[in-house]
């Protein structure tokens, strides 16, 4: 990073109908918002200079996010409240940035630092107790084999699920809260875990709506938000 660049970290959401955007589409939309907002963004060197911006771990198509993050490098210092206003004013409401602050230049990238994700999954038409029992049985087995694009990946559930999975009944729906550990060796997606639980309990695939409620860094002595 050039010495006179400023690393602005912003928190944004991905909600409403825009939960159906891909990670790439979200990233492009926010980059365009930064240009529309007149942010004095820095650009990379080289043949095809690009905006210097970096995002946290990708969210899949269909998954909403309540606390998502990006880092934007600026050529000029703009007080964080003003920067946030400019950015938010140029962003569609369902992707709106809601917090911003400058961060240390040398900090590791969001993508590598954020290794813990908390989710809330709403499952329609499944009895909470049945689902809870199935998830309990699944986690007790210790491992989950997942087929993806012809390859089998085995998740160590004790490592992938650092907290207990909880299920709550809410009318005719079950609300599942879970925490997963993400990393280069793979990230367990809530839909995949739930689908395996449906298999265990003999439940037909039910509609699942997933929201990532938090992404966290693992630090000595606990987990922390990046902002």
């Amino acid at each position: 990073m050039a010495p006179d660049e400023f690393r602005l970290r912003a928190r944004y959401r991905k909600g409403g109908r825009l939960r159906f955007l891909s990670h790439l589409e979200v990233a492009r939309a926010l980059e365009r918002a930064a240009r529309r907002g007149g942010m004095p963004y820095a650009v990379t060197k080289g043949y095809t200079p690009r905006m210097k911006v970096a995002f946290g771990p990708a969210l899949p198509v269909g998954t909403a996010g309540e606390r998502e993050y990006l880092d934007l490098w600026l050529r000029e210092y703009v007080p964080a409240p003003a920067a946030l206003r400019r950015l938010a004013g140029a962003t569609p409401e369902d992707l709106a940035p809601t917090e911003a602050r400058y961060t240390r230049a040398a900090e590791p990238s969001l993508a590598s630092a954020l290794t813990i994700a908390r989710y809330e999954a709403v499952v329609d038409g499944v009895v909470a107790e049945e689902l809870e029992a199935a998830l309990g049985e699944l986690t007790a087995s210790g491992e989950l084999a997942v087929e993806h694009k012809g390859k089998t990946k085995v998740f160590d559930l004790a490592r992938s699920l650092p907290e207990e999975v909880r299920v709550k009944a809410d009318g005719g729906r079950s609300v599942v809260t879970l925490t997963t550990r993400m990393g280069p060796e793979g990230s367990l997606r809530p839909e995949v875990l739930l689908s395996a639980a449906f298999d265990v309990a003999g439940i037909r695939d039910a509609p699942v709506s997933v929201t990532r409620t938090d992404v966290l860094m693992e630090e000595e002595g606990g987990w922390a938000r990046p902002l």
Binding site: R17, F20, R32, R36, Y77, R85, E93, A100
Partner: protein, 655 residues
């Protein structure tokens, strides 16, 4: 979360902080409530949204893109349709212009709709959900008007697919008082006969002024409580509007006007492009669409006079937007959209008289922003390469040129005023300027083509390859690539070649084999346009109203997205032609004498038939015709017919 997580790195902030007043430690900025949410969408929106999780690329069907306009409380809603998927349709500049223009009329809302991909179409049908607009999720059948662009012939089945998914009767004759008015426009409107029974009305030519007039006529008709038949007669009085049901084809397939309809419909044209500002706040898609960038139309019309080119004939005369307006609109569009690229579009951008000035000014204004400028098509000359150098930060993308034919004789026949030396000189300049790839477009089956002309393509490509390699350092010669794209010539209505036969499929295959004999292999990427798709395009391009039955039969047999190689099936069409009792080979490849009846005789682009006939004669004698925007009038009659003139920002230069 500890508040003390702020790590204000001194190395970052110290230097600047000294220069100005000391900044307070930048604290956490938190926005309160965001703007109030837009009014909740209705039940249909929820039903549509419930399908998003079950389809590929749901971003095609989302509303609320930046710049999308959703207006409540309007009395007149029009749905603009591009008859292909979202990612193709969002590249269409006409759609953006009309969207902007119609939304600026009081009481009128213009919204968009594209053709759902097969997976979404199947779900809509299975769930009984009617096709709706993106913005307000209003069913198309509840809009006052459905305006459909007709960009090229292979989208015709998509028009029927759209109407069917919208639950609007396919045939104009079956529509009732409450059904929307279905209006077509765009390039294929110049021979709309194969779609005639499905369209209530067709606009010929440019929509900047006519679209508002059509809407006004429709609203006046609604206010007066007129029935549909009276409305259609009223619309036929709007200049440029063709109402197919007011014409009946004679035994030769020529539509003849019924009582009260004009004998000839003349296209609409705007006299001055600058009177109509380029849309500066178009809708910005979320998904990766074709031509995903800001655009400014710098020139409309091209009078280079290539005799195969329909656009070059029907968009006459040339009208440039001045340099100041182009620079202003380019910057305003970038600011409003946030795109990282702006494209200066036209049929031949290098012909713009002030292009160099525009590019230098934009380069200065965009320095350090990472925003680039692009030029869509290049002329085969040194000036074009110099212009490309001005805009291209990277040399990776390659340059594209269209010599069209392999020999000078045949290039003279088609009036492509380019010599071998022009092309080779341009290639040498491009490769010595750092480019390592060029792409060349050729056509197979142009009138009078012989096997020598075809071999000429291979020989010309070999010379291009040799000159390109000689122009780069020896260690980079391996990187030199020449892309050669060969399509089949399709004669189009309203061109000097409108009477010429198209090659039969058999003959195309034989000539492709001839081309392969001389085409160098090393460093050359040869690609063909699917000749079967070109054959269908040729049939639909010059067919008459009898083809409508075949279009409908093909669609009923499952034909949609015919322009997509993986979806196209000629067999389905051949069966459809047979069931409709038409001989497609006779339409595409039959011989017509100039003067033979044509199904589009009642529609005029302003270019006189006498001029087209004269141009055909010159073509067969290999005589060239100059470009009137560089010199004298060549007598095509457009300016006299339409009361317009060539508009230039300065003197044109180049070849």
């Amino acid at each position: 979360m500890p508040e003390a997580a702020w790590h204000g790195g001194r190395s970052t902030f110290g230097r600047r902080a000294k220069a100005g007043p000391a900044h307070p430690p930048p604290g956490r900025a938190v926005l309160g409530k965001t703007r109030p949410r837009a009014a909740a969408l209705g039940e249909l929106a929820q039903r549509t949204a419930a399908l998003f999780g079950r389809v590929e690329r749901p971003a095609r069907y989302l509303d609320s893109e930046w710049g999308a306009r959703r207006r409540e409380d309007v009395s007149y809603r029009v749905c603009l349709v591009y008859p292909d998927t979202y990612e193709l349709g969002m590249a269409n500049q006409a759609l953006a212009i009309l969207y902007d223009l119609l939304n600026s009329i009081g009481g009128v809302a213009a919204e968009r709709c594209f053709v759902p991909a097969r997976d979404m179409a199947a779900l809509l049908r299975a769930e009984g959900v009617p096709l709706a607009t993106l913005e307000s999720v209003t069913p198309l059948r509840e809009c006052r008007m459905i305006g459909i662009t007709l960009p090229y012939e292979l989208t015709y089945t998509n028009v029927l697919e759209t109407l069917d998914l919208a639950q609007v009767p396919l045939h104009s004759s079956e529509r009732e008082e409450d059904d929307p008015l279905v209006l077509g426009g765009g390039p294929s409107a110049y021979n709309p006969e194969p779609l005639a029974p499905f369209l209530d009305a067709v606009l010929l030519g440019e929509g900047e002024e006519a679209a508002g007039e059509i809407v006004a006529a429709h609203r006046a008709s609604l206010e007066a409580g007129e029935d549909r038949a009276t409305l259609l007669r009223r619309l036929a009085d709007v200049p440029g509007v063709y109402v197919p049901s007011l014409y009946e084809p004679d035994s030769a397939g020529r539509p003849r006007p019924l009582a009260g309809a004009p004998a000839r419909v003349l296209k609409r044209v705007v006299t001055d492009l600058e009177a109509h500002r380029s849309p500066t706040c178009p809708v910005v898609p979320y998904m990766d669409v074709v031509h995903d960038r800001a655009t400014v139309e710098v020139t409309r019309g091209c009078t280079r006079g290539c005799r195969f080119c329909q656009a070059g004939m029907v968009y006459r005369p040339v009208r440039e937007r001045g340099a100041d307006a182009v620079v202003r609109d380019a910057l305003a569009t970038l600011e409003c959209t946030g795109y990282d690229e702006v494209s200066l579009t036209s049929l031949s951008t290098a012909d713009h008289s002030q292009l160099e000035d525009v590019l230098r000014r934009l380069a200065r204004r965009l320095e350090g922003t990472g925003i680039s400028v692009s030029l869509p098509s290049l002329r085969v000359d040194a000036f074009s390469v110099d212009m490309a150098r001005l805009v291209s930060a990277g040399r990776r993308s390659g340059l594209t040129f269209a010599p069209e034919a392999g020999t000078q004789r045949l290039r003279d026949v088609v009036n492509k005023n380019v010599t071998d030396d022009d092309l080779l000189g341009t290639v040498r300049r491009a490769f010595s300027s750092g480019w390592r790839r060029v792409k060349l477009y050729f056509m197979l089956g142009l009138p009078t083509e012989t096997d020598d002309d075809i071999r000429g393509i291979g020989e010309l490509v070999a010379r291009v390859m040799a000159d390109a390699r000689a122009a780069v350092p020896p260690n980079e010669r391996g990187a030199v690539r020449v892309g050669v794209s060969v399509s089949t010539f399709v004669p189009k209505a309203h061109t000097p070649f409108q009477w010429e036969p198209q090659l039969t499929l058999e003959e195309v295959r034989r000539r492709q084999a001839v081309l392969r004999e001389t085409m160098p292999r090393k460093g050359v990427d040869l690609s063909w346009h699917d000749p079967e798709a070109s054959f269908l395009e040729g049939v639909l391009a010059r067919g008459d109203r009898r083809l409508a039955e075949a279009v409908e039969a093909a669609w009923r047999a499952g034909a949609v997205f015919d322009a997509w190689t993986e979806e196209f099936d000629l067999g389905r069409w051949l069966v459809a032609f047979e069931s409709a009792g038409v001989d497609p080979g006779a339409i595409a490849s039959g011989k017509r004498e100039p003067g033979a009846p044509l199904p589009w005789e009642h529609l005029s682009s302003g270019v006189s038939t006498a001029y087209l006939r004269l141009e055909r004669k010159r073509a067969l004698a290999a005589e060239v015709t100059p470009d009137c925007s560089f010199g004298e009038c060549t007598g095509c009659a457009v300016c006299e017919e339409l009361g317009v003139d060539v508009v230039l920002g300065g003197e044109r230069r180049g070849t």
